[in-house]
């Protein structure tokens, strides 16, 4: 017993104990050795990235691809220029904003309809029975297949691009909201029932919060699909956007413009997915990983 009391006293400020259960927090400090530096995750990241860029540079400088490949540095210089110079009347910022705006509008419109619809389908078998057959026809259709019909319907303006983004993001948004509710452990509803809650309490206290992680997973998938869609639309017909930059580069055999455009898309798409991840962290502070459900 004395031993146990001693043990409890030795616990740090962050430690807590109840009966025989102790939550310990430990911070370990190990000496810095060459071996640890080399095997450090971040050091390896830097080494890997540097090796890739060097290889790229050497291949480009050797001239194997002639005009088809430029060095990484040339890409940087080309795009630094675009920050102030214009391409078809817009700077780089202008083109990024054009693509981002299309995505934002299409993404918000699609998720605003798809998520509630998916939730309704999961919660109400009649809604499900009515919507599902139609949805199943559209589900396997790749969004890119809609490009031509969108241009026929809406012309080459903003509407056709937003339309394609809506089509592309709708399916994963809906499916994830739907599955998010379908996969809830039914015993969680029993908790509300036993405490005296009604069906509405069940939906409010269990269905909605429990489906949050799945909805956000759907938003992430939708977002990357949205970038694919906007790019496809811009490649076919547009006067602005990151896809337009790539097409211009292709027309004028300007490899720096094409490669830079690709890198910019990756960068912006990555930043936007960080935004969604941040939003999820804000709204679901309880969520560590989905298995906890």
């Amino acid at each position: 017993m004395a031993e146990m009391e001693e043990g409890i006293q030795r616990l740090g400020r962050q430690d807590r104990a109840i009966a025989n259960e102790v939550q310990k927090s430990v911070r370990e400090r190990r000496p810095l050795t060459l071996r640890r530096v080399i095997t450090n995750e971040y050091v390896l990241h830097v080494v890997s990235a540097a090796a890739f860029l060097t290889l790229w540079h050497e291949v480009a400088a050797s001239g194997v691809f002639k005009g088809g490949l430029c060095t990484p540095w040339e890409v940087v210089v080309r795009f630094r220029g675009l920050l102030t110079d214009t391409l078809a009347g817009l700077t780089l910022w202008g083109h990024i904003a054009a693509s981002a705006q299309r995505i934002a509008i299409g993404f918000v419109l699609a998720s605003a309809v798809a998520i509630p619809l998916g939730l309704f389908m999961a919660l109400n078998p009649y809604v499900n029975a009515v919507v599902k057959p139609v949805f199943d026809i559209f589900k396997p259709m790749p969004p890119i297949a809609w490009v031509s019909i969108a241009i026929l319907w809406f012309g080459v303006g903003e509407e056709s691009k937003i339309f394609i983004i809506i089509i592309g993001t709708f399916v994963p948004c809906l499916l994830n909201a739907y599955n998010g509710i379908r996969l809830i452990d039914p015993e969680l509803y029993d908790v509300v029932k036993v405490l005296g809650g009604n069906r509405w309490n069940e939906i409010l206290q269990v269905s909605f919060p429990a489906s949050f992680p799945a909805i956000f997973a759907g938003l992430q998938i939708s977002l990357s699909l949205a970038w694919t869609c906007v790019l496809a639309a811009e490649l076919v017909a547009s006067r602005s956007g990151l896809g337009f930059i790539i097409v211009q580069g292709m027309k004028f055999t300007d490899a720096a413009l094409v490669i830079g455009g690709m890198v910019m898309i990756a960068l912006v798409a990555w930043l936007s997915s960080l935004l969604i991840a941040g939003l999820e962290k804000l709204l679901c502070p309880w969520r560590r990983d989905i298995r906890d459900l």
């Binding site: 807590r16 109840i18 009966a19 025989n20 259960e21 939550q23 452990d185 015993e187 969680l188 029993d190 908790v191 509300v192 029932k193 036993v194 405490l195 005296g196 809650g197 309490n201 206290q205 269990v206 919060p209 429990a210 949050f212 679901c284 502070p285 309880w286 969520r287 560590r288 906890d292 459900l293």
Partner: protein
Amino acid sequence: MTHKIECRHIAKVFIQKGKQRVHVLEDISLFVRDNEFLVILGPGQSGKSTLLRIIAGLETPSEGEVLLDGRPVSGPGPDRGLVFQSYMLFPWKTVLGNVELGPRLRGVPREERRRIAQHYIDLVGLRGFEKHYPHQLSGGMKQRVGIARAYANNPQVMLLDEPFGQLDAQTRYFMEKETARIWETEKRTVLFVTNNIDEAIFLGDRIVTLKGKLPGRMDRVWEVDLPRPREHTDMEFLKLRHTITECCELTL
């Protein structure tokens, strides 16, 4: 005098895959006195969880009826609190949020339900953990929250469904002691389902044993006439343990 809970000739048949009939319970008749701690002891697959779910109102019996204070039970209600084997805490709510759920659903004002929740969080020994989320707690602590949540709704009857089945032996032993302490602090009529004979004798005023293998049938009722707090190593305790084991041939 009417008993707090009475089960009259309860039978339950599940229909599996459309036509296959599975008899889970057959002719269960038992009663629980007011503020009594009744343990239902049976091996796995003896339908004891189903029996508890029927009493909770989550399943309807195929035959027979459950009476609470002499009135038939027709569905779940706040007069019966249930503690789940797999905790079933809401991972999106803090400890406080989980415990105050019952009063909240009944429309108890915020200040009042905070006070109630805090009282039961203190009772189960979780003071200081109010703002923790379930994933930050150990198994034993999670079930403490489960018990506090059921208590906070102020039920007349507590139903516990193998509440410590997922815990390691050491923690389980502690939790049994805690359960006895909590029950003696705030007496309720308790129906406790377990497959562990030590747990049954340690906690129960009476023990109802079920026969193994489906369908679950009543075996015997045992009075546990040992003074509290009980000791697992007590001579009388061990004698009773031996008798029950001999009689039931519990293959646990």
